[in-house]
Symmetry: C2
Subunit: 531 residues, 2 copies
């Protein structure tokens, strides 16, 4: 057997060479237990082809691990787990704020309230993009994609295990997750090792750049038969995927892209997948499910965050308030010029949706689809970015990183010396009970009330230090900020499209009038002046 | 008594001088019957001050009218009603299409299916603007406003009888609809004749320019007490208003601006107003009611059209399908730079909303609110137009006038050789019944289904002659039109913002691919090539 040195938050691998399994290559008995002091973690190993058996483990602690392997292989050992990569620069810890930008060596991303953070507590602000068939392209194209990503603002990529069949997705991949039986159907007991090795190399390449892999386990756009596997076949597939992939620190599970279009699956199937993943992923990676029309029930215990296909950024607040979990618009239409209206918003609109979402403390995922002769559209295959939104998204990310943490919804009246809440309620005092408005207000369901009376406010804050309000497509010539009285602020007017920042106050506090240029895409930022 | 010569579709007035009424100046017995052949119309006269009594009548026919007046005045006579102004140029009828542009002398505007037309059948496409307190401004400003309107595309103005108190509406009008009692409250039995004469001069000035007056009878923005009149006082007010104003051909009744914010009024009050107006307006002018939050029930028999405050142009189809009456977005936010988000959309967005609405066969009303030192904002007081949308609205109007009639919703698949209708229904054939999409589709209410599955298609047609599709904020680089096979079309690509039209085909038919510039604000027009 071989061993790589063990390091906190990096995948550790044990390997043995033996004869190949007699039956299924998937469902093999191979278990390992890793102990760190009293803490025990049990993981499954997998057959990697050519007589090689592997166990992968993701250590979360510094110090001595003792391990024992049973099943096809019987072995035991111990090793010292070194401090995470993020703590090794100049022998000192990098400040958390700074290493968040770096992105590596912090462990898996976890949910923290309405936001995310790395396991070690470092900050992680998801700024995603979509390259569904990334892993099914030829090597030169993948290398080009990675080169593009190295200069882009994105730190999460959504992509599929199964290949995609759709407009602009016609190429046949070199390898598939399984080998075929003689009758042409898939043999889920015989994984295609070349596929999985290649797929893992993509995860690793992204990880090295600090990019999370939001891995899509199922999707409906299929001409090969993967969307029609039986539940028994699906269980084997997921089992093998978890054995191989779950020790990567940077993976997330997106049960499906457009789960509701998977016509052979009913709701119990999705619930079963949830339970299966919870049982077979020893690390509890992030888990959600993305819809076409019917949002998944994000209140379910194992679902870590809301993963939405939704264009109306004004609904983010409702999802945040309903589920009290982080909200990612994993699809809010793509920048491009396709015939389809999911794929032809302007660069301005893509950037606008990002600004609207992030200013509220929600998150977005980018995608790009420009018609081209070579049929290489970023959203499907990667390549180069042609759009105008990534630069604006990078500009947004840069500004958000100046805060000391993630933004929460800012009630604009909080420091107004007035009570916040519904002016409608005040207005209704003493109103005739059969007045249409009173009638409506008293009889409507809460969500209906919210959707009628909500105003489009894209405003977030981090404590009393950082207040950001974005005006979206509206064009005020003036705004009034109600800031805390006891702190001195620098106020900037930001043009998200021109990517300019203009300081208009240094030393503002309390109620402050800010003149604005009266155009679309303007934000105001008030940041505490640091000594 | 005096008489003006009688002309079809013009207000005719009879006048007598006597002593002033003993009691109420409003509720006087003065009735007239006008007979044209067998057709009888009964109207009420009014006291006009200084001992003058008047009867106004709007004749709809050419030929001899015989009239008889009873009550305070007893009189009778006959006169010949000449042909309408619109039919007098060069002694010949002007073609209907052409005279619609002229706008005068066609009689009141009526509803015709999902659209409007003049009583004589000439075309009328409402292109409205909003100047709430138009009639409460000083003369020079009103003259400036009328001069502005003479060069603007608008042929309907929404304005109030009662003055308005609101941001940027602080000036005290010279006259009010009534005189005050000694205790300062309004004496609805004593109309202020200067007010009404002045108000009528505004209606007349607009009418001379072919502009309809969408007169707002009630509204909540009040510091003088008009919104708090009792129902008995309201009845007297409406009675007097109908006696004076209903014979103007160009008036529409908007029962209220934001009726649901009239906190002293319940729903029965609005129903009573409806009935009262139906009884006291002998000409059945257009009637609707405009909301802040809760749309009025436009299915009510006397309500002629949907008058909406609504920003989401994608809901127009639902209102059209639900009520099968013309739909006007009388408020879809205003071009400007106010703090309030009802008053700070860009010129692009205002024009965009117009294009979205008209392309579907619905209608919009413009408004403009730019901050200015003199507090003269168009939407309140008139003056000059500063925005960028009116030119684009004029450009749209010009294009629409090239059709031979109003547009109806265009089912884009109609000539595709496929059946139209929901692709979702096809997709669901053979799908598991407990699939989330199938579940949702089979259990959701029809309106919920529409709102989930509707696509944003702004497309309208007039017969097989004229097909217009607008792409709104989407940026397709290509579109496919399915046109009838048996007609030859000229196809243009229109940039609504740049106001350019580029012919891309001459002689197209059937399925036609059209390349587009891939930016916001683009439309495609296919018009039959006329011999």
């Amino acid at each position: 057997m071989e061993r790589r040195s063990m390091r906190q938050y990096e995948m550790y691998e044990l390997e043995w060479k033996k004869s190949e399994p007699a039956g299924s290559f998937v469902d093999i008995p191979l278990n390992a237990v890793f102990c760190w002091g009293e803490e025990e973690k049990s993981v499954k190993g997998f057959y990697a082809g050519k007589g090689v058996y592997k166990v992968r483990f993701l250590p979360g602690h510094v110090g001595k691990y003792v391990w024992k392997v049973t099943g096809v292989v019987e072995d035991a050992g111990e090793c010292f787990c070194g401090a995470a990569y993020s703590r090794r620069v100049d022998g000192e810890d990098i400040p958390k704020k700074q290493c968040a930008l770096e992105g590596r060596g912090h462990g898996p991303v976890r949910v923290c309230g309405m936001h995310f953070e790395y396991e070690d507590g470092a900050r992680y602000t998801p700024v995603g993009t979509t390259i569904y068939a990334l892993a099914h392209q030829k090597e030169p194209l993948i290398r080009q994609t990675l080169a593009t990503l190295s200069k882009a603002p994105f730190n999460k990529v959504r992509y599929c295990i199964f290949p995609k069949n759709y407009d602009y997705n016609h190429n046949e991949p070199e390898h598939f997750a399984f080998l075929r039986k003689k009758d042409g159907t898939w043999d889920v007991d015989r994984p295609c090792m070349e596929f999985w090795e290649h797929f893992e190399s993509v995860i690793e390449s992204l990880e090295r750049m600090g990019i999370q892999s939001d891995i899509i386990l199922f999707h409906p756009y299929d001409r090969w038969g993967f969307s029609g596997l039986s539940m028994e076949e699906n269980r084997k597939y997921l089992d093998y995927a978890m054995r191989r992939l779950s020790a990567f620190p940077s993976v997330w599970w997106s049960m499906a892209n457009e789960y509701d279009l998977m016509t052979k699956r009913g709701m119990e199937d999705w619930h079963e997948f949830e339970a299966f993943l919870a049982k077979n992923d020893p690390y509890g990676h992030l888990l959600s499910n993305h819809q076409c029309f019917v949002p998944y029930d994000f209140s379910r215990e194992r679902i870590t965050h809301c993963s939405l296909q939704l264009r109306d950024v004004d609904l983010a607040k409702e999802f945040m308030e309903t589920y009290r979990k982080p909200v990612i618009y994993d699809e809010c239409a793509y920048e491009g010029n396709l015939v389809h209206d999911w794929g032809n918003i302007s660069g301005f609109e893509m950037a606008n949706r990002f600004w609207c979402l992030y200013a509220q403390g929600a998150y977005g995922t980018h995608g790009e689809v420009f018609l081209s002769e070579d049929e290489i559209l970023w959203w499907a295959k990667g390549g180069i970015l042609k759009g105008q939104s990534p630069a604006r998204i990078a500009f947004l990310k840069e500004i958000l990183q100046e805060a000391n943490g993630e933004l929460s919804t800012w009630n604009l009246q909080e420091y107004a010396g007035q009570k916040g809440g519904f002016w409608v309620e005040d207005m209704l005092k003493g109103v005739r009970e059969d007045n249409p408005l009173a009638n409506f207000y008293h009889s409507a369901e809460p969500t209906r009330k919210i959707s009628v009376f909500r105003t489009q406010e894209y405003a977030g804050h981090y404590g009393k230090q950082f207040f950001l309000r974005y005006f979206g497509r509206t064009c005020p010539g003036l705004t009034v900020l109600y800031l805390p009285e006891d702190i001195s602020y620098k106020i900037e007017v930001i043009d998200m499209w021109e990517m300019t920042r203009k300081q208009v106050y240094f030393g503002a506090a309390g109620k402050t009038e800010v003149h604005l240029p009266g155009k679309e895409g303007i934000a105001v930022l008030a940041a505490e002046i640091e000594e």
